[in-house]
Symmetry: C2
Subunit: 645 residues, 2 copies
């Protein structure tokens, strides 16, 4: 079994890959086309079906009703009126277009295709003859184009269009959007550059988009332009205007800590990794590795959320991770997922896949309601009942970002390398591979993430003789993994590795993976003040939380979990559409001795009244991603451990 | 001994009192004049001397060099140029004028008096013929006067001038500033009112100033106007524009939680209590009591700091009290101090004096460097070494607020009620009282807050026959207070009460108070997530902290304090000018088992390496108010308790 991905640069068509590494000398892994993967049953197929049938439509309706589409009709002169909404609203439409393109890559849908084709026509009509494209800076604001690069998001919007256009081209083979994107990119290349205007956007995005446009077209001009935009950062001394908020305080190669606006940070890191793929620029790679350690070893929520602070939607210093006051923007978790994907493609190291999984099943999925119609912008890890998902936002970056991420999920499950197939994430369905002398179908049966048992069957296989390797990710959370090939145990599969099965494959081969899902008491590094003396419950890749609705008459803040508590999980068809609920015994201790006091001293007097107040109770924890889908109430991820104070 | 304060309303002069309750039917206590109190030695005299000789001059220089004084010269046409700084900069000058007036009330200073007289002339010259006064809204911006009440702080500035003018009049007997204030207040009364324009300022201050102007002039119009401005809040539905940020989301009588901008909250509460003094409006009183409980039972730092959030300089929800990310603006602690003073004057209840003391010795005093020349705007309770005091700020509300508070401190030490003298705060010096048939001198000897022993001597006394009462505050922090009168023990003095000594006093009577200062392990209500599993060290009214400079080669976050640790305090002449240092044994446990991990699970494996890393060390804690006066480094108020996790 030898699989290589098709390449958009060489072939006419082209299939939808998520980061095309086909010609990247510095990437260990190759991406696979979305269309090679079919999800069948399990956890993900119903969710992606809902995404296509419900969420994409709901988001389109929101884009229409909020004037986001009319802004294009206005810019092209087809419809009168004022620009509606905020100056970066075009980007929401572009992310929706990217999401819709992924949907079209997987399943034929005439009505969606018509909407998409019409939209692309509207966008094309809104483009200026010189290639400029932004519906805010038209007519009365045309003179303000490129006037305020730091704040006005023009390149950010351009980058999202370029990403969408590449995705649309790869998904459908049509070139309409891509031609618009090329004209737009050419306009950028003419306007900005070493021998033109020096400057870059306050919100990164254009850089990663230009790298992908280079991959899609083979035109190195776009790669060079991406490098130029990266190198424009940090040239203005901070006191004059270069701010950490925009990652503009230092040259990017010297940025080793993640600071400022979290989504921006992830998009910058993605671009740095992307450029490394293509150029082998080791300084960029070392910087982005340091940034990764800063983010994921000191500043990430246990849910994969990034960006602790509301003020500036930003990273705080190391270990500043408040729970109720978490910002943890859905977009930042998504950006982190995409960033880890690049790190994984370069290295094949499983820790990046682990953080992708953590973000996907927790901090990203929490951004979407179970009904597929409501969204979280912020994803706190504790709440008093006030934080609820909304159908849309004035600044609506998150909803279409969730859509494009989930609809492209099949592209993130597998990769290939020389003589090898890598399985990063386990989702029920089929992979059809066909490349060179090798073709076949691999079926995956699993209820993951509810159950850790996965069965991979090589349903059919035709290929050249010789051994090849199947790399199977053993998540870091699994302490006793077990892998068998046709019933024979594989020796030496360790947590947090890829188990490598090298053999001469034949049709009918069966690989069984068992990743036992015990309930884990997760602790934080002790410098995380918010979580000190607390545990979080996790099972498999899922972080759990307590919700008030499952614990009537209890203040969740009073609950203490004894270290000895043995939790078990079982599917409950009555809870949240049938999630696995984690159950165990705990007890409450109310702060009765405190009365109206905020501070006290002396020995805590454990009065008889207080002892009376201690009572045991049954805890029922639900997956964090599913919280706030019932009536409003308290929520807590981090629960008080058993302690004296 | 019967003392009543002089009243500005009846007599020609008038002495400088802090909130004149002489004619307030609903205040239990009467204020005493600053000039009745002389500080001698001890903790406070050197600080107030420094305040007059160093701080007031440094602040004046800053007001000059930043154009704040020139703004007045420009407004009067005496000096050309542009308005400099921010639209509320006048208020900093007014607070400085108030502070300087308190200095003049206590000590003759010809050169200061000249500066003050000149300043008042500049201000008077800048006033419009119709009474309007604000140097920002002159010339090119005259048409914008009162155009944006929510955001432009015009009444806020006016209020600070009125406060300053009343203070100046009381301190010096001169009427120049007061006449300007009366014209300004009259202009406000004509412009806004039930039969004029409806509206009030986005930043409270005018209300409390108008009540004090009423007290100073006896003109009830100003009291009515204060009530009008209070009642203007909360009339705009929140969704239309009335925001919690400005305490404009509900009518003030229905506001029972403190929300929004913390300084605004305290100034509103002060005004509500002030109006209650004068009118007996029980709805206002009940609301402000509820607000007090919200602030001090659920939202106050152990330092007396208020306002947890950077975003909006605002209160968060109950128990949201981050340490390193604390905002805790110096001005908010000062506002809280002044608020508690009103609550104390109404009720005579010691808890309000306790919080005044806590704020004074911790969250307020921390706002000023030991050299009297640098200031904190935010007062975090933990730091990595980056937060340092500055000589001034673009928004410079805090420096002159510290100055006016500390220079008026003598006015907050004592009060009287019928047949009684109240001692709220212990400061070495003398009180000269003279009222009706009673006069005399009470001397106070103490090293408070370093030492809890206080000796009060009735140095001289002439008065009518009959008993009178001395109320002596026994702070809530003192578990074993002891009071003797001429050597005989007073029975029944309890922590958190006023010990009442009722007798027929004579010259030579000596009252000795002993408030033993053990080092307390302070704990927080368990809902304060930031402090869970932590203690703070306190001694007497002082909260202590650890600083990196005293613990070389140790990460303060690794320190654990065993519950059994016995701390002792001793004065160290080499530390921070001779503070009492709290010393005891603790140990460190480094997070060696964590490596680069942020989260872990399973049993904590206490490896031999980790045991090696545990080492005992000598802790040396210094008063929180004195932190950041040496080289930069870590600081922590809340220290990890001994725990398993």
């Amino acid at each position: 079994m030898v699989i290589t991905s098709s390449t958009s640069r060489e072939g006419a068509i082209t299939s939808s890959v998520i980061v095309d590494t086909a010609n990247s000398d510095y990437a260990k892994l190759r991406s696979l086309a979305l269309s090679a993967v079919t999800l069948k049953g399990g956890f993900w197929e119903p969710r992606l079906t809902q995404m296509r049938e419900v969420t994409l439509r709901q988001q389109w309706d929101q884009c229409e009703s909020t004037g986001r589409i009319d802004n294009f009709r206005r810019a092209s002169g087809r419809k009168p009126g004022e620009f509606q909404g905020r100056y970066f609203n075009d980007s929401d439409v572009y992310k929706w277009l990217e999401a819709a393109s992924y949907a079209l890559a997987v399943e034929h849908d005439t009505s969606l295709e018509e909407v998409v084709d019409d939209l692309i026509q509207e966008i094309a009509a809104a483009q200026s003859p010189n290639g400029y494209l932004n519906t805010y800076f038209t007519f009365e604001r045309e003179s303000e184009r490129w006037a305020d690069l730091t704040n006005k998001h023009e390149m950010y919007c351009a980058g999202h269009f370029i990403q969408a256009a590449v995705a649309h081209n790869r998904a459908t083979g049509k070139r309409g959007a891509l031609e618009v994107a090329i004209r737009l990119a050419d306009h950028l290349c003419v306007t900005f550059g070493p021998r033109a205007r020096q400057g870059t956007d306050g919100h990164e995005e254009i850089e990663l988009a230009l790298v992908e446009l280079y991959r899609a077209t083979g035109n190195r001009r776009y790669l060079d332009q991406a490098v130029f935009f990266l190198d424009m950062r940090g040239l203005t001394p901070p006191l004059v205007g270069g701010l950490p908020y925009h990652q503009d305080h230092l040259p990017v190669r010297h940025q080793r800590e993640v600071v400022g606006h979290a989504v921006r940070v992830t998009y910058l890191a993605i671009a740095m990794a992307d450029v490394y793929f293509e150029t082998g620029d080791i300084d960029l790679w070392e910087a982005v590795q340091a940034q990764w350690r800063s983010a994921y070893e000191r500043k990430a929520y246990v849910t994969g959320g990034l960006g602790a602070r509301w003020l500036g939607e930003a990273f705080g210093p190391d270990y500043e991770l408040p729970n109720q006051r978490a910002y943890s923007e859905t977009c930042a978790a998504i950006g982190g997922f995409m960033w880890n994907w690049r790190m994984l493609l370069v290295t094949g190291e499983p820790r990046y896949a682990d953080w992708m999984e953590t973000a996907l099943y927790n901090g990203i999925l929490s951004g979407l309601s179970l009904n597929g119609r409501e969204y979280f912008y912020q994803n706190p890890l504790a709440d008093d009942g006030a934080h609820r998902r909304q159908p849309w936002f004035g600044t609506a970056c998150c909803p279409p970002n969730v859509a494009r991420l989930l609809l492209s999920l099949p592209g993130y499950l597998y990769s290939t390398s020389q003589d090898a197939l890598w399985v990063h994430h386990y989702a029920a369905g089929e992979l059809r591979f066909s490349s060179g002398n090798h073709s076949g179908v691999l079926s995956v049966k699993t209820e993951y993430p509810w159950d850790g048992r996965i069965t991979l069957t090589l349903v059919s296989y035709q290929g050249a003789a010789g051994e090849s390797t199947l790399h199977l990710r053993v998540p870091g959370w699994c302490s006793s993994p077990r892998v068998t090939i046709n019933g024979a145990a594989l020796v030496g599969s360790e947590p947090g590795t890829y188990a490598a099965v090298r053999r001469e494959w034949k049709a009918g081969d069966v690989v069984e993976i068992d990743l036992p899902m015990t309930v884990r008491h997760v602790r934080s590094h002790p410098f995380v003040a918010s979580n000190y003396g607390r545990i979080a419950l996790a099972r498999g890749p899922l972080v759990y939380c307590l919700e008030g609705v499952d614990h009537p008459d209890v203040d969740l803040r009073d609950i203490r979990v004894p270290a000895t508590t043995d939790f078990h999980a079982e599917q409950d068809p009555d809870v949240l559409g049938g999630v696995y609920v984690v159950r165990g015994r705990a007890y409450t201790r109310g702060p009765v001795e405190w009365g109206g006091q905020l501070y006290a001293w002396g020995q805590p007097s454990r009065s008889s009244e207080e002892v009376v107040m201690e009572r045991t109770l049954s805890l029922a924890a639900v997956p964090y991603f599913a919280w706030a889908n019932r009536e409003p109430g308290q929520m807590q991820v981090w629960i008080r451990d058993e302690q004296t104070s």
